[in-house]
Every structure is written in C-alpha cells, then in structure tokens.
C-alpha cells in the first residue's frame, strides 16, 4: 500500500505545479476572492455601525464571528469543495474509474490531488480580521482557552470537509449532486450571523440536520461567553464534538457510496 507521508506531498506538489502553469489566473483568483469578501464584510460593518448591534452582538464580536466563519470554511473547503464539486463530472465522464484503480485511498487522492491553494485570499483576509477582532473583544486568553479556540476551529473545518465529502459522495450513486451545494450555501450564508436572530425552527435545523451553526456561531459564542439557544452550558462541548461526529457520519456515507458506485454507464 502506498505510503501516505510520501504520496500526499507528491500529490500536492503535482497539483501546485499544474496550477502554477497559469500563474496570472491563480493570483487574480486570490485577489478577486479577497475583494469580494472584503466588500461584503465592509457592508456588514456599515450596517452594524448604523444599528449598533445584531442580536446583542456588536461589531468586534461580529467581526470575530465572520472571520472564524471564513477561516473555518477556507480550511475545510480547501480540502474538499472544488474536489467534491467536480465529483459529478468525474462520475459522468468516467475519470472516477481512473482514480479507483490507484493503490491509494480514493478520498486521499481526490482531496490532495486538488488541494485548493485558491483559498489563500480567504485565509489572509480571515486571519487579518480575526487578529483585529481578538484585540477588541472582551475575552481573557489563557493557554487552555487558546487551545480550545484552535480546537473549535479544527472541529468547524471538519464539519465543512465532511459535509462537502457527503455531497460529493452522493454523486457516486446519483451521478448528479451539485444542487445539494446550493442548499449547503444557503445555510452557510445564515451561519455568518448570530443564531439567536433566527426563528426557533431554523435554530433547531442549524444545530441538527444542517449543523452549520457549529462552524462559527456556537464556538464563537462559547468563546465570548454568550448564551447559546438550545445548547446552554453544553455549547463548548458540542462545538468540540460536532466536527468529529459529522466526520464519522461522512466516512460511513462515503464508504457506502463507494461500494454502491455504478459509474454513469459505458
């Protein structure tokens, strides 16, 4: 069996080499993403400056929420989004077959042969905004709370990669699954805002079947010591466990879909 510590760097190296064949497009992609998110965050900050707070959250807290949301998304999506969005095409034209005959885990091959360095713009913006907001919010940082914050971030990134994996895996059975990304991004948009501004059924949905409240709101609220609807004192533990739990479900779904892969005919 292939040695992952050798194969993963080789896959990433090959992918980056293929991307740097078009350096202009790569840099332009980073700049456009930076500009798109930057202008959106500016708009949100201007609205907050007019109204003071949103669901009891002031601008530095919202900035932390937005930056956590973007950073968790970038980390998770760089491992998954483009790779699994292309799954439908891979199945339809048969290139998935060529991946399945490689002596390496199919998930590993797909993820690292498409590790998306295009999220560099997102990450730079998210880190910048987070660095500023952390100096503005009222949190006493200790070694334990810092470690907890990093763990929240990893758990949130795992949720993104797991959900993307599940959507992509569905294409192995349904051939078409990209419409599910539209549903995902609908909830993803909502996940940028404090959960308590939404009606109860939506809160419930975002804490269960569409668990994107755990990708930013729950961990950031737990960090800031804000009350979390429905979870209360369990918010911190739930934010830590959500990522591994969704990942386990995604692994089971991925294996089931792989076993039931039929190709698209031909």
């Amino acid at each position: 069996m292939a040695r992952l510590h050798v194969v993963i760097p080789a896959l990433v190296h090959t992918f980056i080499r293929s991307k740097t064949e078009y350096p202009g497009a790569m840099v332009l992609g980073w700049l456009s993403q930076f500009a798109a998110y930057g202008s959106m965050y500016t708009a949100i900050s201007l609205i907050l400056a007019r109204f003071g707070s949103l669901g009891g959250w002031v601008w530095p807290e919202i900035a932390l929420l937005l930056s956590f949301h973007l950073l968790a998304y970038s980390l998770g999506a760089s491992l998954s989004f483009v790779q699994f969005r292309e799954m439908e095409e891979k199945v339809r034209i048969g290139t998935m077959d060529a991946i399945l005959v490689k002596p390496v885990s199919t998930w590993t091959y797909i993820v690292f042969s498409g590790l998306n360095i295009g999220y560099a713009g997102h990450i730079v913006l998210a880190l910048g905004l987070m660095a500023w907001s952390l100096t503005q919010v009222d949190v006493t940082w200790t070694g334990q709370s810092s470690l907890l914050f990093v763990c929240y971030l990893i758990s949130a990134a795992m949720i993104i990669a797991a959900v993307m994996t599940m959507i992509g895996a569905t294409a192995l059975v349904w051939v078409k699954s990209n419409h599910l990304y539209q549903i995902f991004f609908g909830f993803w948009e909502l996940a940028r805002y404090p959960l308590n501004i939404f009606p109860l059924p939506l809160q419930l949905l975002m804490l269960t079947f569409a668990p994107l409240a755990f990708m930013a709101y729950v961990p950031v609220a737990a960090t800031l010591g804000k009350p979390v609807p429905l979870l209360g004192d369990y918010a911190s533990a739930a934010a830590l466990l959500a990522g591994p739990l969704v990942t386990l479900i995604a692994m089971a779904h991925w294996r089931w879909c792989l076993r039931n892969y039929q190709g698209a005919g031909g």
Binding site: T14, G94, G263, G266
Partner: protein, 332 residues
C-alpha cells in the same frame, strides 16, 4: 494456478424507466419505476499467467463492466471473481498495486503538466524503487519512442502520443496484469500499429498478462491468441481465435475456375452459392472438409484450371453472426 477466475459473475444495474414526452418527464419526478439491466450475466472463465486475452463484444455487451469488476471499481451482484487470488472490490487498493489499467477514453495523465510529471507521481503512488523506475522509464521511453515528447505538456500531444504515454505509465510499476479498455480507439493506422506491436512484445517478453477489450478485431488478431466474446452480458465464445469461425458456424468459401463451363455441378461436400459459368463458388459444409475431399468428389472429367480456398475474415464472421441475430429478431 489461474491469475483471474470468474465463476458465474453477474452485474445488474438498476435504471429508471424513461417515460416519453414532457408529461412523462414530469410524472417521473413523482413516481419512478425502475428496471433491472443485467450487464453481465453468469460469465465464467479462467485466465492463466502470461496469457493475452481479447474481450470482444458489441456496445452494451458488458465488456467495460467486466473490466471494472476485475479492477475492483464495481462490485459484482452475484458469482465469484478472483484476481491474483483476491476478491478485487474488497481488496481494491492491494489489487491496484499489482495491476495496470489503461482506459482508451479516459486519461490518467495530468493535462497541464509534462508527461514526466505524471510518471513521477506514479513513482510515489506505486512506491517504485528509484533504480527500477529509472530502468523502466528508459526502456518504455525507447520502446514507445516517447523521447521527443516526454517533457511536453500532455495537452500538446496527439492522441497517439498520449495513448503511448498512458500505456507506459500503466507499466512503470511492472504490473502482473495489464487491463486495457479500448486502447486503440480513435488512433490512426500508424499509432495503432505501434501500440499493438508494443503490447504483443510486453506480453511475449515480460510475461505480463494482458486483458484487452476492443471493437477492433485487428487488435485481437495481433495481440491476443485467445478470445472471449460476449453479447447481452453472456459468454458466446471462449477459445483460440482460429476456432472462432467454426464455433460461430461460419463456412469457408471455395472458388473453382474451369477452362469451359462444365454445366451444373452438385457436390455432397460443398454447397454451390454462385454460378458464373466457368467460375463456381461453393461453401464448404464443414471445417473437416478439405480441398482434397471436394476435388475427389468432383472427379477428373472437368477442365479445372484453378482452385481458391478463402477463409472468411474474422470481422466478417462476427458481422454475419450479429446480422443473423438481428434477422432472428434479437437485438445484438
């Protein structure tokens, strides 16, 4: 011991029934009926190490499905399948390390990078020791004449060059079995010839077992002494190519040319099909009938000038077989 063994292998796909028209399409959104399509239906065969086997059949016969099951991509619905002593789908990764696969219509090369980069990635994926990789790369580059383009991006290569690179990449790790799914599809005559000669040599010199699906019978004639022919997912023929004609009931054609028209001739050993006067065309009634048998029966009282025995070419044999099937009301 057989390197591949298939016993009663079946693969059934569940496909939605298409309803005609817009109303049918809308109806199918709410209630969908499914039909079961048996792409592979009780196929059994064994393949010994070092064999070169052509897997032949019309579109939809189940060729690619069988290859996908042997390479571990698809899971058989029924039957037992063993490749290198393992069940391919449940040992997919282990199995993949010992086989090579070439898809004629699906490239495994990195489109934007030079061929060499794809080869180098495979060196890591297949954990090929550096000296063996270097040796194989040199040998394959020379044999397939790839020296001129190995450092060019794949997107700039012709189809023939790309296919040679695909085949070389599949052989870099010295696989025990090489599966090729339509490797010559779309290639020009020269490129096909290069690929065929190379594959025959790999089989002969290196002892690599080759399983090849194709529509092109010349591929099989030049590479594979053994032929497995399938249709509607079922096995029609498994044996040496030279026995296919008799197995499918195809008969040899005999032309007798006389100095002058001998008039009507009736023979027990051959059946007259065309009478052109001085030239008469017969079909021999069985594989065992020899020219000598016919000439003995004809006797010496004719002004016989020339005798010509024509073996039906394999393509004609198969075409006739499928044509007869269609005429009998069964779609091939």
């Amino acid at each position: 011991m057989a390197i591949i063994s298939a016993q009663g292998v079946e693969k059934t796909f569940r496909q939605p029934k298409r309803q005609s028209g817009l109303a049918g399409a809308i109806r199918s959104l709410f209630s969908r009926d499914y039909t079961e399509v048996r792409a592979v239906n009780g196929i059994s065969f064994t393949i010994q190490p070092g064999e070169a086997v052509g897997y032949l059949g019309p579109n939809g016969a189940g060729k690619s499905t069988m290859i996908k099951m042997m390479t571990g991509i698809l899971v058989p619905t029924a039957g037992t399948l063993s490749v290198l002593g393992r069940e391919p789908h449940s040992n997919r990764i282990t199995n993949a390390a010992e086989i090579g696969v070439v898809f004629g219509q699906r490239s495994q090369l990195w489109w934007d990078l030079p061929v060499r980069d794809s080869f180098d990635l495979n060196r890591h994926i297949y954990d090929i020791p550096t000296p063996r990789f270097a040796e194989n790369l040199t040998r394959l580059t020379t044999m397939l004449d790839m020296g001129g383009y190995i450092d060019r991006p794949v997107r700039q290569l012709s189809l023939g060059q790309r296919m040679r690179a695909e085949i070389a990449m599949a052989l870099l790790h010295d696989p025990k079995i090489l599966f090729l799914d339509e490797p010559t599809i779309g290639l020009d005559v020269v490129a096909k010839d290069v690929v065929r000669k190379f594959l025959a040599e790999v089989n002969r010199e290196r002892g690599t077992t080759i399983i090849l699906t194709t529509h092109d019978l010349v591929d099989i004639e030049e590479i594979c002494p053994r032929l497995i022919m399938v249709d509607d997912g079922k096995l029609l023929f498994d044996g040496e190519l030279k026995h296919l004609r008799s197995a499918l009931g195809s008969r040899r054609r005999l032309k007798l040319e006389f100095g002058t028209d001998p008039g009507p001739i009736t023979l027990k050993t051959a059946h007259l099909v065309t009478d052109e006067g001085a030239a008469k065309h017969f079909l021999l009634d069985s594989e065992q009938t020899s020219i000598l048998d016919v000439l003995t029966e004809l006797g010496s009282g004719h002004d016989l000038k020339d005798v010509k025995l024509e073996e039906p070419d394999i393509e004609e044999v198969i075409r006739t077989f499928y044509k007869n099937k269609v005429q009998a009301g069964v779609a091939p």
